[in-house]
Symmetry: C2
Subunit: 180 residues, 2 copies
């Protein structure tokens, strides 16, 4: 995997794709599917919503680290499988054939099959809303992937795939952060 | 506009589209473009990130209300225009030809040109992260719109348009909330 400039990492989350979030609790890795994420700052800071009902939440609280991995449309069935079973009973990496790679800044694993991965530190938990606030530390892309279209969950069991791209960089120049 | 069941309102935000957020401060309406949103609960509860640098933030804090409107791809230039000027100097509804409609639960206006609108109450502001937490009170769809494809901001001046839809309702049945 190839390093991605951290100034551009927010552009992976801003379009609102379904993501996989990996955690490491002691010597045990886990992964969950999450759609409830947002950018909070360009630096980058991200928020995601989860909570005690989710097995990964304990690992997030304890380790204060995770990796956000961006899957593409060809991984849809694995994304759904990861999201519909619990790491409490299942080693999801083995069961669903996801390949772990070591990151540089956190102990939670990167996922090789994904388009990109962001290593993150938990900087805050807003417990009353189960909102976890993350600082992105390092980002990686997988340049060997031909498929680059991500998935957007509707929330009713349907997904929207990325379609065409429209360029409004000229109109938006004044509002774009440095380095993007 | 046609009422939309509030149990389904989260499915408008979960895919991560760019949205327009309207506010009403005294007798003055304003609208901003926002991409930093997420679902926090199915009931529905939403979060968005904004802050004191944004003119709408004062109206959100003061009125404790807003409307989230979902624009489609044909509105891209208006979405960018709304996002690149400030309501401090501009009446954006007049300037960009957006039609206001009265909602039922809040004083901030619905936008007729949009695919759907969600009337919201501010239930919390997490000031240390500029995260505003909203409860959805009522939702509306515009059934006369033929164009239903929404926009996803990449954050660098480019946008991704909704592409094809994939159905995984059967695989996900056990995880879907009631009424969806």
């Amino acid at each position: 995997m190839k390093p991605l400039r951290i100034e551009r990492a927010f552009t992976l989350i801003e379009p609102g794709p379904v993501v996989l979030v990996t955690t490491r609790d002691g010597d045990r890795d886990n992964v969950m599917t999450i759609s409830w994420t947002m950018v909070v700052d360009f630096t980058p800071v991200f928020a995601l919503t989860t909570g005690p009902w989710n097995y990964s939440y304990a690992a997030l609280r304890k380790s204060r680290e995770c990796v956000i991995a961006i899957p593409t449309v060809d991984l849809i069935d694995r994304v759904v499988d990861v999201g519909t079973c619990s790491g409490r009973e299942t080693d999801k990496f083995a069961k669903f054939g996801l390949t772990r790679r070591k990151g540089r800044r956190v102990r939670a694993p990167l996922i090789e099959e994904c388009l990109a991965n962001i290593e993150c530190r938990v900087i805050d938990i807003v417990a009353r809303h189960s909102i976890v606030v993350l600082k992105g530390l390092a980002a990686w892309s997988n340049p060997s992937r031909k498929e680059k279209r991500t998935l957007h969950a509707v929330g009713d069991g349907r997904f929207v795939v990325d379609g065409r791209r429209l360029d409004r960089r000229r109109m938006m120049r004044s509002k774009l952060p440095e380095g993007v």
